[in-house]
Point group: C2
Chain length 117, copies 2
DNA sequence: ACAACAGATCGACACCCGTCGATGCAACTC
DNA sequence: GAGTTGCATCGACGGGTGTCGATCTGTTGT
């Protein structure tokens, strides 16, 4: 029987710290947390990987289908995906020997909420 | 009479390259451009500076009022502000010996548009 | 049990980036 | 004109990051 390991998200789903920064000056701690999330999106390779997952017809995508179209090596892809998962932007579910990724819309919504009211 | 130099935005106001990445896989070029913008927000110090400008009561803020509350040196603040201006997130206007910064809402809106439909 | 395979981890390398003191530059004051 | 002030630029240092080849771990198939 196939083993299934659901990824434990390093951070909670949609609770991003901050209100829109129109609403006041960010604390040092809040800024730190927010920056980590933006940092995950601040790389071209990760943005492309992110868009591959977000635009997947089935709502999920296998890691094996990311290496070739991304043009990066397998370790590099694995690294980038871990960064995105740690940032709470994706979830990883390991089914058999394959890893499947899904977007976390709540996280993206929370991010958008910071950029404006 | 006071001299006034209006900042020339390095990039155009609101034309951020990309549609929401739910809509398809980003091209390498688009990903590069988007990443530059996110990179500007991927630093705690810049996020705090950004929030100081965005939440300014008068809609603008003087650079002289940013050094002390940010806790960074004057050259560091100047560097961060340049990054934000180059990313099109802020505009700089030099009046006399002071530099005044304003947010660029269209740019933030465009960014939000990428994060979701 | 053994081979094949997907993916994560490790080690190493080059490069970028945040930071600050010192300096340069332009505008205002006297 | 000389001094002052606000800001940008320069040079240098330290730490972080993207990248890949090699290796390890765990699963499937024979």
């Amino acid at each position: 029987m196939g083993k299934v390991k659901v990824a434990t998200p390093t951070t909670n789903p949609s609770d991003l710290c901050c209100r829109p920064f129109t609403a006041g000056v960010l604390s040092a701690a809040d800024a730190e947390e927010l920056a980590t999330t933006f940092k995950a999106l601040a790389d071209p390779a990760r943005l492309r990987l992110m868009s591959m997952v977000a635009s997947a017809p089935d709502g999920e995508v296998c890691a094996c289908d990311l290496v070739e179209p991304s043009g990066k090596s397998q370790p590099t892809v694995s690294h980038h995906m871990s960064v995105l998962v740690d940032a709470g932007l994706l979830t990883r579910e390991k089914r058999g020997r394959w890893a499947w990724y899904r977007p976390v819309p709540e996280r993206l919504d929370a991010l958008r909420g910071v950029l404006a009211p």
